[in-house]
């Protein structure tokens, strides 16, 4: 079974934005810094004026790996895991479970778009090639 994240004041928007189809990222309203993983204060300027807002939900593969080992009972392999640089949030990068693609087709520089998998009260961002 997939472990779920604890929902906290700083991360709830990120993990539940998918309910409305939105990828929510934290931004500092004072210095415009994109903050991921989300924080309650801005790590760059220490402002507490942090707000979350929807980003386009597209991005570019910075790197990836294809996992072949079942680490937990029932884990279906192989699957690709990428690290995606987000459009609309300079410097922010997310861990990206890749779906709807041949794992071996994933490549650095590839354009991706987000979708969401709902389990319980969490909407997991999942990524597929933007075609």
């Amino acid at each position: 079974m997939r472990p779920l994240p604890e929902l906290t004041p700083e991360n709830t928007a990120f993990w539940t934005g998918g309910a409305e189809g939105k990828l929510m990222i934290a931004f500092c309203t004072d210095c415009a810094h994109a903050i991921h993983p989300p924080q309650l204060i801005c790590p760059k300027c220490w402002s507490d004026k942090v707000e979350t807002r929807a980003v386009p939900g597209t991005g570019t593969v910075y790197t990836f790996t294809v996992n072949h080992q079942p680490w937990a009972p029932g884990m279906a392999v192989p699957f690709a895991l990428a690290v995606v640089d987000l459009d609309g949030a300079p410097g922010a990068r997310v861990t990206a479970e890749v779906v709807n693609a041949d794992p071996d087709s994933v490549a650095i520089g590839q354009a991706m778009k987000v979708g969401f998998l709902n389990i319980d009260d969490v909407w997991f961002p999942q990524w597929e090639p933007a075609r």
Binding site: P3, P5, E6, T63, V66, Q69, V94
Partner: protein, 389 residues
């Protein structure tokens, strides 16, 4: 700027896979051997230090804390510490060095004990953080729920990006794995001692691309003890003190695996660069190295971090034969964790010390006087330079 601290003894238990032996028996054996190495007795030990302390965040990760060990070994101490959030598995050794240098203790027993081999089961794998828990917090709550559960995935990202930027191939990592296996064949305490050819390496199953089975270290049961002594107290020990010439613990990026801006570098680069600022010695002065090899890809990263070659040059440095048996800068001469077993960095330091004392029979680096050790991968990194005068 030498610290007034030295390593005076090391000891390792009879490590193995699925030993079924309680962690405390491994620990006591390692402690007995370290004291014998140092020429000290139990009552000389007045400090104790470990990483991370007793912890159950993954099976067999750390069954013993300072409390369990103080009680079982009947220690009376002036100073004790466990360091879960520090510069790598080396943190307890670094804080012990600072403790003896500031007079808090004279001889500190630093330990690491693991039973990852015996403790893992079909459903509870070693080194999968938070395995079996309903909800996760902290840095790995962004990784594990996305099915990026294993450090092999996180290291795989680093390797893939490095391959992409610098043209490294699996054959380069194969040279790391087969070279360390050749070293392990000369080390009776290594757990993997059958020969490993490049064909074996390339033919093994993929774990998390581009990392295959032999790019991953081996979970074991075992314990290792390192005695850190004050400089004046070290003079009374049985062996030449191994002076801690310099240490590094710097970290310039977030404490998680995929958020460093340049994933062709890691915490090691910050930590080792800071270490070199504290000494007049240069990378060319190093005779032998212990570099963290939880995954083979960490070795080229550490080589660059330690300044033995430039960024992107490690593949050629390795291909030229620098780090294997007979090389100018031999790395992980006991077989490392890839072939020796995962003692979380302590085993690598144990081997560097053994080399500096001239006792690595069958694999001894002639005249080794200066050793460098780097522990950790990803954001986890601690560096140390040792000198035998």
């Amino acid at each position: 700027m030498t610290l007034s601290a030295a390593i005076t003894g090391v000891g390792m238990s009879d490590i193995g896979r699925k030993t079924g032996r309680p962690a405390m028996l491994h620990l006591a054996e390692a402690a007995r051997r370290a004291l014998e190495c140092a020429g000290l007795t139990r009552d000389d030990i007045d400090g104790i230090s470990t990483y991370p302390g007793k912890a159950d965040n993954s099976p067999g990760m750390s069954p013993l804390g300072t409390g369990e060990v103080r009680n079982a070994l009947g220690l009376r101490t002036r100073w004790h510490s466990a360091v879960p959030d520090g510069p790598s598995q080396m943190a307890p050794i670094q804080v012990a060095a600072m403790a003896v240098a500031t007079g808090q203790a004279r001889h500190v027993l630093c330990f690491r004990a693991l039973t990852e081999s015996s403790s893992q089961t079909a459903t509870q794998r070693a080194s999968i953080p938070g395995a079996g828990r309903a909800r996760l917090g902290g840095w790995y709550s962004y990784l594990v729920p996305a099915n990026a559960m294993s450090a092999s995935n996180w290291a795989g990202w680093m390797a893939q990006r490095y391959f992409h930027e610098f043209g490294m191939t699996r054959e380069h990592l194969g040279l790391v794995a087969t070279g360390q296996r050749a070293f392990a064949q000369a080390n009776p305490s290594a757990v993997m001692r059958t020969s490993l050819t490049m064909d074996d390496y390339l033919g093994a199953r993929m774990i998390s691309s581009p990392l295959g089975l032999f790019d991953c270290d081996v979970p074991i049961d075992g314990a290792c003890v390192v005695i850190v002594s004050a400089a004046d107290a070290a003079k009374d020990c049985a062996k030449a003190p191994l002076t801690i010439e310099a240490m590094g613990a710097a970290l310039g990026s977030q404490e998680t695996w995929d958020q460093r801006a340049d994933l062709t570098t890691m915490g090691a680069h910050d930590s080792a660069a800071d270490m070199w600022k504290r000494t007049d010695l240069k990378p060319a002065d190093v005779d032998v190295l212990g570099l963290y090899d939880g995954f083979s890809i960490f070795v080229p990263f550490w080589l660059e971090a330690m300044g033995l070659c430039g960024h992107g040059e490690a593949k050629d440095f390795i291909a030229e034969g620098n780090i294997g048996p007979g090389g100018r800068f031999p790395v992980n001469t006991g077989g490392g964790q890839l072939s020796g077993g995962r003692l979380h960095g302590f085993g690598l330091l144990h081997e560097v010390c053994t080399q500096l004392w001239g006792q690595a029979s069958g694999r001894q680096v002639d005249g080794a006087k200066v050793g460098a050790c780097g522990m950790g991968g990803g954001f986890i990194a601690g560096s140390m330079l040792l000198r035998r005068d």
